[in-house]
């Protein structure tokens, strides 16, 4: 097994230049996340936790410092290389589910797989993943608008999983779900971490959700306040 950390932040600073003055979202942040870890990032609004998640997700780049994802420094990568990293190594799960409204559940899961393999006939793998996340086959051809929040989040998790990513990034994954559905989703994520060895990085406000994580990183004013 690879013992190298899968995510490495070294003295990372992110500054947003605004007319009213620069905003320091991340302030000389350094930490490491090992493969197969389940990490919860917590902190008050504006603390920088979403910026941190976006940076791990290669959606944003640091102003200074280095971010290494799966051995690659994202500061030196082109837009296409970052996109490929998101496609192949990272899986996103959003609070708003962010499914593609034009596509049904099965097609939403197929989408990243087609991007990766270039093959449109790859439905078996998608059905397998949808079944694994607990979405019954009668819902596979439903559009997102025809699914409940919990069902949409399961589709989103299946979409994140379909390319077998190393890291799964979850932004408030239970934020739009009722308690029962939220619990089921968290149990599913925990199972993915334990059974499939996925590295999970989750941003949450909810301490009960954070309890599922192996380690909690508290952020405040762009700095790590404490790790537990």
């Amino acid at each position: 097994m690879d013992t190298q950390p899968v995510i490495v932040f070294t003295d990372v600073t992110k500054i947003y230049p605004l007319d009213a003055g620069d905003v320091v979202a991340l302030d000389h942040l350094s930490f490491e996340i090992q493969r197969g870890e389940f990490i919860a990032i917590m902190g008050p609004s504006g603390s920088g936790k979403s910026t941190l998640l976006n940076m791990i997700g290669c959606l944003d780049v640091p102003t200074s410092g280095d971010v290494i994802i799966d051995g690659k420094n994202i500061r030196t990568m082109t837009d296409d290389q970052l996109t490929e990293l998101r496609r192949d190594v990272l899986g996103f799960i959003f609070q708003q589910f962010n499914l593609i409204l034009l596509l049904n559940a099965l097609e939403n899961v197929q989408y990243p797989l087609i991007l990766k393999t270039g093959e449109t006939g790859c439905t078996d793998r998608c059905k397998e993943v949808l079944a694994a996340v607990g979405l019954t086959s009668d819902l596979w051809h439903h559009r997102p608008g025809q699914l409940s929040g919990g069902q949409q989040q399961r589709v989103a998790i299946a979409r994140a999983l379909v390319n077998d990513p190393e890291i799964m990034l979850c932004d408030e994954p239970t934020g739009n779900l009722d308690t029962k559905t939220g619990t089921a989703i968290m149990q599913l994520l925990t199972r993915l971490c334990r059974e499939q060895g996925k590295t999970i990085v989750m941003v949450t406000h909810d301490p009960r959700t954070a309890e599922y994580a192996d380690r909690v990183i508290m952020i405040e004013d762009g700095r790590i306040k404490e790790e537990a």
């Binding site: 959606l59 944003d60 837009d79 996109t83 490929e84 962010n98 087609i114 991007l115 449109t120």
Partner: protein
């Protein structure tokens, strides 16, 4: 290839969801293609029509007496080409056939009908050089006349019919009817009477010819013959005007070609309007889908792939609009030339039909061009900004 199929499918679905505005944008392209192609067909048919109505003689050099204009008056309108000048023309023309022609107009009576007609006097031996016979026979001597196809048809003239010419109503008998020839730059016989040179000279008491036609055997020699005549006769002063029918034909066809281009340009304006419409639809599509673009980018869609999705949308609008427009152009072109020219056979000429694919190509190109900026705008969005967009 398959990811292209994926983005093509997404483009179709998006157009289907916004079917009304997609339809309106496609209608814009349809109108543009119909306008540009129909105008092209009409313009080309106009050129063909003019070419047909003008005689096909592009092989003649025509020499006429020089008329100079001094102030508001012209001098030399009674000038004619003399026998000496005719001889010089013959020498300058080498072994090409030289046909001197008397030309004028007079009142004629056919039965009870009185009308005006052109009257030409030509040596009977030269008539077959200039004209073709439809029925009857060519003139053999000084008596008798030949008549043009249209004057014969419209006045029921046949071989043996009698025509009274001039105020003195001198009677002449029709011996032959000419084949239709169209308007010519040398002579226009369709509404004319062709008499012998001897009859014309005696009847109108004229000396000297109104024009001399040189039929050039080899078209390559036409400029040389023209220059040679010009050099012989206009050495000291301008005695005659020399022009070749080929150059005139080319000038006229070029003029009508320009008119055709102009009418197509008017059609092109509607295509530009259609392009603006597609641009507008695509920009709306991009702005409404900021968040979707963010999602696509965040899950691994490259810029070029986002770009291709939007270009497919404009391409689908352009191709579908152009195909429908192409079909309607055929009908539009048919209607336009039926109304304007009362003759629809020109539609089936290759040079007319080719206007339809031209229009379609313009339609597709306009659509793609109109979609380029919105597609670039969509692909250039930062995924993080697009995801934050509400």
């Amino acid at each position: 290839m398959s990811s292209h199929r994926l983005f093509f499918g997404l483009a179709i679905r998006n157009l289907q969801i916004h079917w009304l505005r997609s339809l309106l944008a496609a209608i814009g392209i349809i109108i543009g293609v119909v306008a540009i192609s129909s105008m092209g067909i009409l313009g080309n048919s106009l050129v063909l029509s003019v070419s047909d109505s003008l005689t096909d003689v592009g092989d003649s050099v025509v020499v006429t007496p020089h008329i100079s204009f001094q102030g508001m008056t012209s001098t030399g309108t009674d000038k004619r080409i003399t026998d000496r000048q005719l001889e010089q023309i013959r020498r300058a023309s080498g072994n090409n056939e030289v046909v001197p022609v008397y030309a004028g107009g007079d009142r004629i009576r056919i039965g009870r009908e009185i009308l005006a007609a052109s009257i030409y006097g030509v040596n009977p031996q030269d008539i077959p050089t200039l004209l073709n016979l439809e029925t009857g026979q060519f003139l053999r001597g000084a008596s008798g006349v030949m008549v043009g196809a249209k004057i014969a048809k419209e006045n029921n003239l046949a071989v043996g019919s009698r025509i009274l010419v001039g105020d003195e109503e001198a009677g002449v008998r029709v011996v032959g009817i000419l084949a239709e020839r169209g308007m010519g730059f040398d002579i226009s016989p369709d509404y004319a009477i062709i008499a012998s040179d001897q009859w014309y000279k005696d009847f109108y008491d004229v000396r000297g010819y109104d024009q001399v036609i040189v039929k050039v055997r080899n078209l390559k020699d036409i400029d040389q013959v023209k220059n040679s005549i010009d050099a012989q006769l206009n050495r000291r002063e301008t005695e005659v005007n020399v022009y070749d029918t080929k150059a005139i034909l080319e000038t006229i066809l070029e003029t009508f070609g320009r008119i055709s281009t102009f009418t197509m340009a008017i059609g092109g304006i509607s295509l530009i309007v259609a392009g603006v419409s597609i641009f507008n639809v695509m920009m709306m599509s991009v702005m409404e889908r900021y968040r979707e673009i963010g999602i696509l980018r965040s899950i691994g869609t490259k810029r070029a792939e986002v770009r291709s999705m939007f270009i497919y949308e404009s391409l689908i609008l352009g191709v579908s609009g152009s195909i429908i427009g192409g079909v309607l152009s055929f009908l539009g072109g048919y209607a336009a030339i039926a109304v304007m020219l009362q003759e629809t056979s020109y539609l089936f000429a290759f040079s007319s039909l080719i206007q339809i694919p031209y229009g379609m190509i313009f339609g597709v190109a306009t659509s793609i061009l109109s979609g380029l900026y919105p597609a670039w705008k969509a692909s250039d969005l930062r995924p993080i900004d697009a995801l934050r967009h509400e």
